[in-house]
């Protein structure tokens, strides 16, 4: 019998199109895998009926000889940050528990139009704020990976798209949506040995995605290989008049444009990313990545991104500032939780609702954001951070004079254990040191598996490209994938 859990997006789509199996068979098999993997806590809500209905519609279209979409018959996981009509959408927060949207996000609607089906809503860090999926109101997501030391320490699947990464690595679904504000697609992909791409800011509509930091938020696909990411990104992307920052550009044919011959491409290696005390495994993986890209025909050049060290502090002013503004909408009046202590007035209701509804990390970020935007501090913090952000973007612009792509590690370490970094917010923030600069500059960036650590855990290589050049990023990702020989997968202990 065909093991559908081992098939990716392309294999399922092609098999359904050729009639080798029915979309409904795939949906049934993956529904069962999802139902049997509760120990990972990857899903907040499971929607097996929705997956079956979408699959049946694809089977009916095929039987009727109708053209099939780019994702026809492929069941996916939907990060619970995308509003789905009629299905609870929480952003993993208590304040939105029970919220059932009356509308569909543009990106999820695009995927359903392309023939994909929904297995369920995936857990995440609360409001996408976190790098380990430990801030969810609905509990930690557990990575399917374990260290090879014989211990059973529960590891972080990365964040904020930790339900997505865990579910894909555990082969519960071939692909899932992610969103990336400061690394939330790439870092979880790196931690779990899968691939994920954050496209250029504006490629995917933000409409219907629960907002965190609007100048940074960007949706993208996560999957087990580069081709699958290309297919799914094509289905997700596209101009949307409902998002004022949506790019009014045609969606390139990224899948058919895949080409791992990198002859003539110049790959920049940013010297500022080689931090003092860099993890040995990470340094070795990076060197391997350089060798693989050379083997694919690329020229490797040394580059400088001088403001790199300021990216994280700038991010931790800008993102909380935007979050404090975006999350002002949770007032206990129009939707979501309401906490109205006896005899209290409107102001007390706001304060009680938000104290009860937001988790500790969300409250912390709202308060930082409120502070840096407050009278007397705005210029010193927020304006200064936006100026530094302009310099970070300029660093990249200047680098493109001597290279076409940048290769760096995705994260400074392999996955850490749950609970290891929760006591110190700063040490958690530092995990995004390599991911945040591309977010601040709005550039496309991808993580692909680059090897294993000494502990047997996956490590990710990051490719950053010029604005709108997702194709070059995907091609370099493919060149790495073809050479890395990464076939490791998590043992099925759950």
């Amino acid at each position: 019998m065909t093991d559908f859990s081992r098939m990716g997006v392309a294999a399922i789509r092609d098999g359904v199109a050729k009639g080798e199996f029915k979309a409904v068979e795939v949906a049934e098999a993956l529904n069962t895998r999802v139902a049997n993997a509760k120990a990972l806590n990857a899903f907040i809500v499971e929607t097996p009926e929705t997956a079956l209905e979408a699959a049946a519609a694809v089977d009916a279209d095929r039987a009727a000889g109708k053209p099939l979409g780019k994702m026809a018959g492929v069941p996916i996981g939907m990060k619970d940050l995308f509003c789905t009509e009629g299905v609870q959408t929480t952003a993993a927060s208590h304040i939105l528990e029970g919220f059932v949207p009356t509308y569909e996000s543009t990106v999820s609607a695009n995927l359903w139009k392309a023939g994909a089906g929904m297995l369920g809503k995936l857990n995440l860090d609360q409001f996408a704020m976190g790098s380990s999926n430990e801030t969810s109101y609905f509990g930690n997501v557990i990575s399917p990976w374990r260290r090879n030391d014989g211990g059973n320490a529960a590891l972080a699947p990365g964040g904020s798209s930790g339900g997505s990464s865990s579910a894909i690595a555990a082969r519960l679904c071939p692909a899932a949506t992610g969103t990336d504000t400061g690394g939330s697609i790439r870092q979880p992909a790196a931690f779990t040995g899968i691939s994920g791409i954050k496209p250029t800011y504006g490629r995917c509509s933000r409409w219907g995605i629960v907002a965190f930091a609007s100048s940074l938020d960007q949706a993208g696909p996560m999957a087990r290989d580069v081709r699958d990411c290309a297919i799914m990104l094509e289905a997700m992307a596209g101009f949307d008049p409902k998002d004022s920052t949506s790019l009014d550009l045609p969606v390139p044919a990224w899948e058919s444009g895949l080409n791992s011959d990198l002859k003539g491409k110049r790959i920049g290696i940013p010297r500022e990313y080689r931090l003092d005390g860099i993890d040995e495994d990470i340094a070795a993986m990076w060197d391997n990545g350089i060798a693989w890209l050379k083997d694919a025909g690329a020229d490797v050049v040394d580059i400088s991104l001088p403001h790199t060290k300021y990216a994280l502090p700038a991010y931790y002013i800008i993102a909380p500032a935007e979050a404090s503004s975006n999350l002002a909408r949770y007032d206990g009046v129009r939707f979501g939780l309401r906490d109205l202590p006896d005899g209290s007035g409107l102001q007390d209701m706001y304060a009680a609702t938000r104290a009860a509804g937001f988790g500790a990390e969300v409250r912390r970020r709202i308060m930082i954001g409120t502070y840096v935007l407050s009278a007397g501090f705005y210029d010193a913090y927020y304006t200064q951070a936006q100026k530094v952000r302009a310099l970070i973007a300029r660093d990249f612009e200047q680098a493109w004079a001597s290279c076409d792509l940048i290769l760096a590690p995705t994260a400074p370490s392999a996955a850490f254990g749950l609970g290891e970094k929760t006591s110190d917010p700063l040490s958690m923030y530092l995990n995004d040191v390599f991911a945040v600069p591309a977010s601040l500059a709005g550039l496309p960036a991808m993580s692909v598996p680059g090897g294993l650590s000494k502990d047997g855990l996956p490590l990710g290589l990051q490719i950053i490209g010029k604005a709108l050049d997702e194709q070059a990023v995907l091609n370099a990702g493919l060149a790495i994938e073809e050479r890395s020989g990464f076939t490791a997968e998590a043992g099925e202990w759950w």
């Binding site: 504006g202 931790y316 129009r334 939707f335 304060a351 104290a355 930082i368 200064q384 310099l391 917010p425």
Partner: protein
């Protein structure tokens, strides 16, 4: 710059988040840790640099001045925690 407990309470009020005395004490240390760390941005020479307003050059579109939605009252009210008829219910504001 660093914050004291009074400032933390003021930020919490501005944020419309109720915090207890113990939480305020804890928050003083956490916020000061983060603020001390972001302070390093002050060392960057930003002479002549305009603050970023858009990461990818894009012009704001104007759409046609026509009604494109409406007549969705039930949808708008569907998730209200305390609906009253066709209104959002709130505690009494004016005495």
């Amino acid at each position: 710059m660093s914050v004291d407990k009074d400032t933390v309470n003021k930020i919490a009020r501005l944020s419309r988040i109720a915090i207890s005395d113990a939480e305020a004490d804890k928050m003083v240390g956490e916020l000061n840790g983060i603020l001390a760390w972001v302070e390093q941005l002050g060392e960057v020479d930003v002479t002549g640099v305009e603050p970023m307003t858009a990461v990818i050059p894009n012009k704001l579109r104007l759409r046609d001045d026509v009604v494109t939605d409406g007549d969705v009252r039930e949808k708008v009210l569907a998730n209200a925690p305390a609906r009253e008829g066709s209104f959002f219910g709130v505690p009494k504001v004016i005495e």
